[in-house]
Amino acid sequence: MQAKVSVRRFNPDEEQPKPYDQQYDIEVEEHFTVLDALIKVREEVDGSLALRCSCRAAICGSCAMRVNGHAVLACKARVSQHLSDDGEVRVEPAGNQPVIKDLVVDLEPFWNKVRAVEPYLQPSLPEPEAEYLAPNEVMLHLVDVMGCIMCGACVSDCTVLEVDPNFLGPAALAKAYRFVADTRDEEDSKRLGLYNGYGGIWDCTRCGECVAACPKGVAPMDRIMALREKAIESGTPPGGYDGAAYGYRHAEAFEEIVSHKGRLEETMLVVKTLGMFNLPKMLGMLPVGLNAMFHRKMPSPFAPTVPGVNQIRRLAARIKMNKDGAAR
C-alpha cells in the first residue's frame, strides 16, 4: 500500500528557522504504525528526520505526536486507519510544547508542571515499621490514573493550554488527583489549596480533549472534576485566586438554581457567580447584558414555573439530604 506521509518539519539550525511541510511517498504494510512509517522514512529516505521513540509498544510514552490534527502515540496508531481518501496521513509534533526539531518537542515545561503538584506521597509521621498500608479497595479505582505514562498527548490537545501556558494541564492535575485520592497521603487540604490557585483545577474548560487523547484511559478531565468536588466538599477555602472563588460559587449556584427552578437561568447564574455587589465584574458584563436585552434575548423574569417543579425540588432535597447524611 502506498502512503503519502506529510510531516511538519522544523530545523533550528537553519538561518531563519520556520516550520514547513515535507511529503514522503513510501510503501507501507497493512500492519504499519505511524511510527513504523516514520522510521522507514528516516532509514531509507531522509536520515535528517528527527523523532523520539523507544519501546514501540505504547509503554514508554516518548512518541506522542499529532496525527491528522489529534495527539496519539505514533507507535499505537495504524497508518491504514489514518489515511485520507487520497492516501495521505498528516504528522505534526505534539501541540502546546516548544518544538526542538521536527517531531521532537521540549518536555521541560511538562515536567515542571508535574513537579509543581508535588507528585509524591506525603504520609503522616511517625513512620510505620514496615510499609504504609492502604486497603485494596481504595487503591483499585486509582489503577487507571496510575497508568499514566507521561507521554503528554493530553497536554498537546488541551484547549486551555492553547491560550494560557500557565495552566497546569491535564497530566499534572491527574497526577495531583492520584495523591489526593490516596488514603496514605495526609496533605489533602494543603494540596487542594495549592490546586485551587491560578492555572489549577478551576481553569479547565471541561472540553474533554484530554480524555479523547489519552492512550491509557487516565481520563484527566474526570480527575479534575473529582478534585473540584473534593475541594468544595472538604470546605477547602478557595484561596487567593478569584477564579477559584467564582468556580465554587458557579458550581453551588448552578445546583441551587436547577434544584429550585428545575431549569437554568443564565442571568441569575452570572449574578450569583460573580456576586451581586462585585461592581467591576458586573459592569464588565453590563454591555453584553444590555445588548442581549436590546435584541430581545433576555428571558422574562416572569417566566411560568416548570410543570412538575415541586417534584424536582423534592428529588433535589432528598438527594442532598442523603449526601449530607453520608458525609457526616
Binding site: G69, T205, E209, T273, H295, R296, K297, G308, I319, K323
Partner: protein, 293 residues
C-alpha cells in the same frame, strides 16, 4: 416523524431565536415536535461537577417522561446531547438505574433504559435524509462560505455519542452545509472549546478562545459560522466584540444556529428565523443568502 422535544434551558433563555427557528423549520420538513412536559435541565456538566447523582436523576427523569410518551428524544443543544448521552450510558447499569428509579417512583415514573437521544443535526442526516432536505430547499446557498463549529459535547467522548455506529456524525455539519449548496470552510477550531464554561471563572482565557475561533473563521473567508450548540452561540456571538478588543483586532463573524441555516434554504425569512436577535449582525450574510431581513 415525531419526537419528544427537549429544547434545553438556553433555547428557552438566552438564545430564544434557536427555539423559534427550530419550530419554524421542523414544521417545514415534516418533523412533529411534542415538547416533553415538565422537562428539567440536564445539568450541563456543571451540576455533574458538584452533584453527579442529582444530574443523573434529572436525566433519568427526562428519559422516563419521554418513554411515557413513547417517543425518542430530539435535542437542539450539543451540550444537552452530550450530557444526556453520557448519563444514558451510566444508566444502562441496572443496579444504578434501580437506585435512581426508586427516587423517581414518587412521581410514578420509571426509566427502563435504552432511550434514543438525537440532536437535530443527526436527525437531519440520519432520519430525514439530506436528499429530502435538498428536495425541500427553495434556493441554493451557492457562494456562501460557512465555518462549522460543533461544540465539545457533541464530539467527545465519541464512544457515548456512538460515533463508531454512526461515522457520519463526525462530519454531519459539513454534510448539511454542503447539501444546502453552501461551502463548508474547514477550520482548526471546529471541534475545539468555545470557552463558555470558564466565562465567569477566567474571562481572559474564555475570550482568548472566542477570538481565536472567530478570528480563524474570518481569516479563512467565512461569511458566518454555524453551530448546533447554543452555548457556543452565546459566547461566540455575545462576547465576540469584547474578545476582539482583547486581542486588538477587528472581528465580525455572525454566528448562525443550525436551524437558521436550514430555514434560510427553505425560504423562511430573517425575522421568522430570529436572525435579527443576534448581537453580531447577521445582516450581510442574510442578504447573501437572499433572505428578506
Amino acid at each position: 416523524m415525531r419526537y419528544a422535544f427537549f429544547p434545553g434551558c438556553v433555547s428557552r433563555g438566552g438564545a430564544p431565536e434557536l427555539y423559534q427557528s427550530t419550530i419554524a423549520v421542523a414544521g417545514r420538513i415534516g418533523i412533529e415536535l411534542e415538547e416533553i412536559e415538565g422537562w428539567s435541565c440536564t445539568g450541563a456538566g456543571a451540576l455533574q461537577e458538584s452533584n453527579p447523582l442529582l444530574g443523573d436523576t434529572l436525566n433519568a427523569r427526562n428519559f422516563a417522561l419521554a418513554q411515557r410518551m413513547g417517543l425518542s428524544i430530539m435535542t437542539i443543544c450539543s451540550t444537552c446531547q452530550g450530557v444526556m448521552a453520557q448519563a444514558r450510558v451510566r444508566l444502562e447499569d441496572e443496579e444504578y438505574r434501580a437506585q435512581i428509579n426508586e427516587l423517581l417512583a414518587e412521581e410514578d415514573l420509571e426509566y427502563t433504559g435504552g432511550i434514543q437521544v438525537k440532536h437535530m443535526l443527526w436527525i437531519m442526516v440520519e432520519d430525514i435524509g439530506l436528499d429530502h432536505i435538498k428536495s425541500l430547499a427553495v434556493k441554493s446557498l451557492d457562494g456562501v462560505f460557512l465555518a462549522p463549529f460543533y461544540g465539545c459535547y457533541i464530539v467527545r467522548p465519541s464512544a457515548a455519542l456512538e460515533y463508531d455506529a454512526y461515522p457520519q456524525r463526525k462530519i454531519a455539519l459539513e454534510l448539511v452545509i454542503e447539501a444546502l449548496g453552501a461551502t463548508a470552510v474547514d477550520n482548526d477550531g471546529k471541534t475545539r472549546c468555545c470557552g463558555f464554561p470558564i466565562l465567569t471563572i477566567n474571562e481572559r482565557n474564555s475570550l482568548a478562545m472566542v477570538a481565536k475561533h472567530t478570528g480563524e473563521a474570518q481569516d479563512l473567508g467565512a461569511d458566518a459560522m454555524v453551530t448546533p450548540c447554543p452555548l457556543c452561540h452565546l459566547n461566540l456571538d455575545g462576547f465576540q466584540s469584547k474578545a476582539a478588543r482583547q486581542v486588538g483586532r477587528q472581528i465580525n463573524v455572525p454566528i448562525l444556529h443550525l436551524p437558521q441555516l436550514i430555514g434560510a434554504a427553505l425560504g423562511l425569512d430573517g425575522p421568522a428565523l430570529g436572525l435579527n436577535r443576534h448581537i453580531v449582525s447577521s445582516f450581510d450574510v442574510a442578504l447573501k443568502m437572499g433572505l428578506r431581513v
